[in-house]
């Protein structure tokens, strides 16, 4: 008894001392980010955080003049909805947090944003393409990227324009991959592309048994809804088994690691294409400076969605400023900021001109079809843009 008790008392006393040592902080406004900073998607997730950080460092000057200190509070959602929601509760519980930029995975954003919605906290999403994100009509939730229902359809239309008559659709059994694959399927059927099969798999390495029926059905195009780390392996194994047709994937394929895995086989046959809502740097007028700044600050090329995170944070700062001005210099409320985000029109961001509709979608979002043109991972950002489209969200 005695030993345990004394150790507990000691520990408590030490903690109490440590707590009293952490003093009160100066009056600040925090912008939180949530993205996967660990795990398989951490490369993209970390750069979402870094994009936001860069925006705060570069653009918070005018708010500093108003007497506010803007801080970044990065959270790691691990790509897991449970962690995301727990973090969300932590975020909304902090009154200093006035905007949350975030989430990479729609499967995390959807449950977590219920917390933001009920707390009235504005959430600007740089990367969540699932239709449900905005279809719930929450005032607090806006996004500056396209939607899967459009992106899937864009993919199908592209396949059609390339003369594809039949398709086999695979997805990764995640909220994101399955969703976009369903939209690709729907549009394909509408356009008259024969869907030879539709299957999901959690398999990451051994695609043998899935590939046999695919190859037997000889589709013109194999569509993969999901992330590059599965897609590239699947594509590689399909080629090795003698498939000559076209590969098509989605914005989850947008990572230079895809060529690291797939290599030369992605260029063989009818080639590899992917649709995305976040085009390469060359697609945007204002990105050259962003990329240079990003490289100088973090020492590496920005991953996809870093620019979107930058723009999301820029929007957040603008909204905070507007709300602060209308409240006469006092700290703005969350509700006022949520409204201010939606009130922004024709903001010239580095990823395009941003105005929101009543649901929180962009009035017009950009979609790209990109062709993989080099087996060298370093050349990934120089992949060829096969198509650029500006499409309004569905009503």
């Amino acid at each position: 008894m005695g030993k345990r008790l004394c150790s507990v008392i000691l520990a408590t006393a030490m903690l109490a001392f440590a707590v009293s040592a952490t003093g009160a902080q100066a009056k600040v406004i925090k912008i939180a980010t949530q993205s996967p900073l660990s795990g398989g998607m951490s490369a993209v997730g970390t750069d979402i955080k870094n994009g936001a950080q860069l925006a705060i460092e570069q653009l918070s000057g005018s708010l500093t003049k108003l007497g506010f200190k803007i801080e970044l509070a990065p959270f790691d959602d691990q790509g897991n909805p449970d962690t995301g929601v727990a973090n969300a509760k932590n975020i909304v519980a902090d009154p200093a947090v006035l905007v949350i930029v975030g989430h990479y995975n729609s499967g995390v954003q959807i449950p977590a944003s219920e917390e933001y919605h009920s707390a009235g906290l504005a959430n600007v999403s740089p990367a969540n393409t699932n239709p449900k994100v905005t279809e719930r009509n929450y005032l607090e939730i806006s996004r500056i990227c396209g939607r899967d229902d459009v992106q899937g359809a864009v993919g199908a239309q592209f396949a059609m324009s390339m003369g594809m008559k039949s398709a086999y659709i695979i997805h990764d059994k995640t909220a994101y991959g399955q969703g976009i694959a369903e939209y690709f399927k729907r549009e394909s059927e509408k356009l008259g592309i024969k869907v030879r099969g539709f299957a999901g798999t959690e398999e990451k390495a051994n695609f043998d048994s899935i590939l046999t029926p695919i190859l037997a059905s000889r589709p013109d195009v194999i569509y993969f809804g999901g992330m590059y780390d599965q897609a590239a392996v699947l594509f590689k194994q399909a080629r090795q088994k003698g498939y000559k047709g076209m590969f098509l994937s989605d914005d989850g394929f947008d990572s230079s690691d895809a060529t690291k895995i797939g290599g030369k086989v992605l260029l063989d046959g009818k080639g590899t294409y992917y649709s995305t809502v976040s085009g390469p740097a060359s697609a945007y007028p204002g990105t050259a400076k962003f990329i240079a700044d990003f490289k100088a600050r973090f020492g590496s090329e920005p991953q996809p969605f870093a620019a979107q995170a930058y723009d999301s944070t820029a929007l957040a700062l603008l909204a905070i400023e507007a709300a602060a001005k209308s409240s006469g210099g006092a700290a703005p409320t969350r509700a006022a900021i949520a409204k201010a985000v939606r009130a922004i029109t024709d903001y010239k961001g580095i990823t395009g001109t941003i105005s929101f509709n009543s649901k929180g979608d962009l009035l017009k979002a950009k979609y790209f079809i990109i062709q993989v043109t080099s087996a060298d991972p370093l050349q990934w950002s120089n992949n060829k843009i096969a198509q650029t489209l500006e499409i309004e969200p569905p009503k």
Partner: protein, 391 residues
């Protein structure tokens, strides 16, 4: 019996290879016959009509046309499972203990082999390797995997299992689960610290990606080519060699005799002068090395590895060991082949026969369901006699 007249050493090499041929042919014949029968039953059904409409081919010709490919894939996978299953079964035979961390030992082997090849690639040796040299490099990679895995297995046994020998069965099992998790994160730590990424890609070299055309036959839907990848052949040959080698060690050498003695009765073996701890370590070394080699072969076949890659193959291999009768080397082999075929067949045909309602995503469920059913209805497995009986 001619085979009985051969000297022990030769017999113990010929016998397992003969068994493997029998198992492969037997399992393949049973599965194929079942599939064709099923296709006959389904003729004219909704599934048949759907296939005719979407692909312009009936269910029977479709089934037949992909059958050879499915069999080849199944055999390849089966040998990978069998090689991993041997590790479980060896340890179980000797200690009556499920080495839960064996799946991570397998993963370590895969990483060691791939890292070795990546190192060679950085040195520039890989790119210009001729065919013979490529095979030598692969062999060296397999050896690297075997050494890493064997060493890990021995260290794990020494640190996490030996102190618990004699404790209730549940205690070392929990420890083994813990080790499995620790190893996963350790692999990830090491791999991600060196490159920021924790998955690795098996480098492309040699002629492993080439395909050997076996035969072709005409069907209404067009010519069906059946071919096999060079790397599948490599995997099968390597697995056969390893299995035969292991069988030889266990059944025809002095140390093998000691292993069997310890498995049967540890204390008596000790009284007879067998160094029990040494033999147990050796068992782990052997099982681990086999797992490591299987890991490298797995990486060769499926290209991409990550620290968590061991879990499913490990579970499947365990299922294979149980299916064949755990503790029984021949059983592990049979279990592996049957399970590999089953998975391959389920993955390839389920979608067609259920009209897309179920598909390849059910192959894990089927494997686990088999594990559960076998344990309920025939815990001794296909070849075992009683659960408590050892190899």
């Amino acid at each position: 019996m001619r085979i009985a007249q051969l000297p022990v050493s030769v017999r113990e090499i010929v016998k397992p290879i003969g068994r493997m041929v029998v198992f492969v042919v037997g399992a393949g014949a049973v599965f194929s016959a079942f599939m064709v029968l099923l296709a006959l039953v389904f003729k004219g059904s909704a599934a048949d009509r759907l296939l005719l409409e979407s692909m312009d081919v009936g269910i029977l010709p479709y089934t037949v046309s992909i059958l050879p490919q499915v069999l080849i894939d199944g055999v390849t996978l089966g040998f990978v499972y069998a090689a991993i299953a041997l590790g479980y079964t060896m340890v179980y035979g000797v200690l009556e203990f499920i080495n839960f961390a064996h799946s991570e030992i397998f993963a370590i082997g895969a990483f060691a082999g791939v890292e070795f090849l990546l190192f060679m690639e950085r040195l520039g040796i890989l790119a210009g390797a001729g065919p013979l040299f490529a095979y030598m490099l692969l062999m060296m990679a397999v050896l690297a995997g075997m050494m890493a895995s064997g060493a890990t297995a021995v260290i794990v046994e020494r640190t996490a299992y030996r102190p618990l020998r004699g404790a209730p069965r549940i205690v070392p099992l929990i420890s083994a689960i813990g080790v499995s998790f620790v190893l996963q994160d350790l692999i990830r730590l090491v791999e991600s610290l060196t490159s920021g990424q924790f998955h690795r890609i098996f480098p492309t070299f040699g002629n492993f990606d080439d395909r050997v055309s076996l035969f072709a036959f005409e069907m209404k839907m067009g010519t069906v080519y059946v071919d096999i990848q060079v790397k599948s052949i490599v995997v099968i040959v390597a697995a056969v060699l390893m299995l035969a080698g292991l069988n030889y060690i266990v059944n025809a050498t002095r140390v093998g005799k000691a292993i069997r003695a310890v498995a049967q009765d540890r204390s008596s073996a000790s009284l007879m002068g067998v160094y029990v701890n040494g033999i147990i370590s050796f068992t782990f070394l052997l099982g681990g090395a086999l797992g490591g080699a299987a890991g490298v072969l797995y990486a060769l076949k499926f290209t991409r590895i990550d620290p968590f890659i061991g879990f499913f193959p490990g579970m499947k291999a365990f299922t294979a060991a149980v299916l064949g009768g755990i503790g029984n080397l021949t059983g592990a082999l049979l279990g592996g082949i049957v399970l590999g075929m089953l998975e391959s067949f389920a993955g390839a045909y389920l979608t067609t026969f259920t009209m897309g309602a179920m598909g390849a995503e059910y192959k894990d469920i089927i494997a686990f369901a088999i594990l559960i059913l076998i344990l309920i209805f025939r815990p001794s497995g296909l070849l075992g006699e009683q659960v408590s009986q050892k190899a």
